[in-house]
Amino acid sequence: MRTPLQRFRIPTRFRPVGLLPFFSFVALFLLWPAVSLFRLALQPTKNSEISAIHEAITGQYLESFIYTIKLSLLTALLGVLFGSLLAASVLRIQRPKWFRHFMTSFTGVAANLGGIPLAFAFIAALGTQGLITKLIDSFGINLADTGFRISNFAGITIVYLYFQIPLMFLIMVPAFDGLRATWAESAASLGAAPWQYWRHIGLPLLTPALLGGFLLLFSNAFSAYATAYALSSGGARLVPVQIRFFLQGNTITGKDNLGYALAAWMIIIMFITMTGYLIIRRRAEKWQQ
């Protein structure tokens, strides 16, 4: 096999040199900062015997991690559920034809919404002075009395669903499309009830997309920062928001290393999640071929 660039007369073993700019860029602006985090996190903080990376999973910091993971798991689960239901609903509707295109475009936008504008929208809707808060109040339910705040666990969960559901929708539409209509028909002609088709054929085929989507949604919520920061004016108990305190020195001096340690733990959790996601995706791809 001759590759076209052999005419450039570069000996084979020197060809990867062309990839050097790419690898140096990644090394300089991604790997070096990320690896340094771990080096800094291994040093102990002031007045402490244990390393920062150890201290970061004790006491209030451990609670922050549990809080963040709980929130990410819940928004991922609800996102998987509602996103899949929405995809199934939209695919059920054959006419008008533009409707599906519209929903795909819309969810494409919504999945990428986030940050400051999204937080603003929800403060205007469900904040203490929000329009929806007022609407619910006119039905005699005072949202504030129920303990709901846009900046607490329930509030952040609802706001995150705004980008989680569309993301799951975008994952599930191609997955549902992959289920051939003839499979359902063959199952039916062999006497299977609809639930039997879903139990033995549909669901197993959708499992990789559902699992992969769940992991993607989890990592999406886990690494989110801007929305939660703006919703809570920087007061949320989420790990990403907590890290800010250490970086800006708004905290007990000598504890800077804890910021690095919290970030290092975030990378570890993201690494596990993304590895799981890639394994599922590779398997699904292999099966499709």
Binding site: R7, R15, A111, G115, I116, P117, A226, L247, F271, M274
Partner: protein
């Protein structure tokens, strides 16, 4: 029972649309109506609508400054990203196919390092060694290029896979083109859709990015919005809505282009990295 079974997709879609539209409507009302929500009722629902808040914000010199910072950073991020990723992606397809797997894996790495972790690492390393670098607004460029790398690689990779690259290059070379000419006159026009697609997504990522800019104390557009919320809330929310509308238009354009140019309907913008 059967009736309910037929109706449920419509019911569910209606609920979903309410969930997605209600916050945007509330935002619009807050931004453009000068009545506190407490005294809002049926009789004054359509009174006192005005765009004054937004106009005040748009005239603010600080807004103009932050917009120009964001646009400049977006421009250079796109340039850096394309100059780095187009040759890299072409190389792994043309002459070093064995490296494709590694390059692909490396382009996924930014998903493993959340922006908040990246910026903490950056301040832990560059702050002591090269403080002048972090002092510049343009220090955002390489990190935004990192954030945009995953979908840029994927977009180019999909575009190149769709071409018969070897035949194209061989044909052009046998007709006497130089390698630079092959690149400029043959490959780039064929990759136009991928390049425009990646460019638009990168611009939306840069214009929306808050985490890194805020921790490096850069006065970009999202930073300005967050501060303006305390001073001129109506203007801040109006500006947020304006940006949402513009982003939507940009995405719709990209979507239309993609549908026109390729049969594939697979949404490539999944997880562009802008969230959140």
């Amino acid at each position: 029972m059967k009736r309910v079974g037929k109706a449920w997709p419509y019911i569910f879609i209606a609920l979903a649309i309410i969930f997605f539209i209600a916050p945007l409507l509330s935002m619009a009302r807050f931004a453009f109506q000068r009545i506190p929500v407490i005294s809002l009722g049926k009789n004054n629902l359509f009174k006192k609508w005005t765009a004054d808040g937004l106009l005040v914000t748009l005239r603010d010199p600080e807004f103009k400054h932050s917009l120009s910072v964001s646009l400049k950073v977006a421009f250079f991020t796109v340039i850096v990203l394309l100059l780095m990723m187009i040759p890299t992606t072409l190389l792994v397809h043309l002459s070093t196919p064995r490296w494709r797997g590694l390059v692909e894996t490396v382009t996924i790495l930014p998903y493993v390092v959340p922006p908040i972790a990246l910026v903490v690492g950056v301040s832990g390393t560059y702050r002591s060694i090269a403080p002048w670098f972090l002092a510049s607004n343009y220090s955002l460029v390489p990190f935004y290029a990192i954030l945009a790398m995953p979908f840029t690689f994927r977009s180019l990779d999909v575009g190149i896979k769709a071409l018969d690259l070897r035949t194209l290059v061989d044909a052009a070379r046998s007709l006497g083109s130089s390698s630079l000419r092959v690149m400029w006159n043959v490959l780039l026009p064929n990759l136009r859709t991928s390049i425009v697609n990646a460019t638009f997504l990168t611009i939306t990522v840069v214009l929306g990015e808050f985490t890194i800019a805020s921790l490096l104390l850069k006065r970009t557009l999202p930073m300005y919005m967050a501060q303006e919320q305390g001073r001129e809330p109506q203007g801040a929310l109006g500006l947020g809505l304006l940006i949402l509308v513009l982003t939507t238009l940009l995405f719709t354009l990209v979507g239309m282009m993609r549908r026109k140019n390729s049969a594939s309907n697979v949404p490539q913008q999944i997880n562009s990295g802008m969230v959140p």
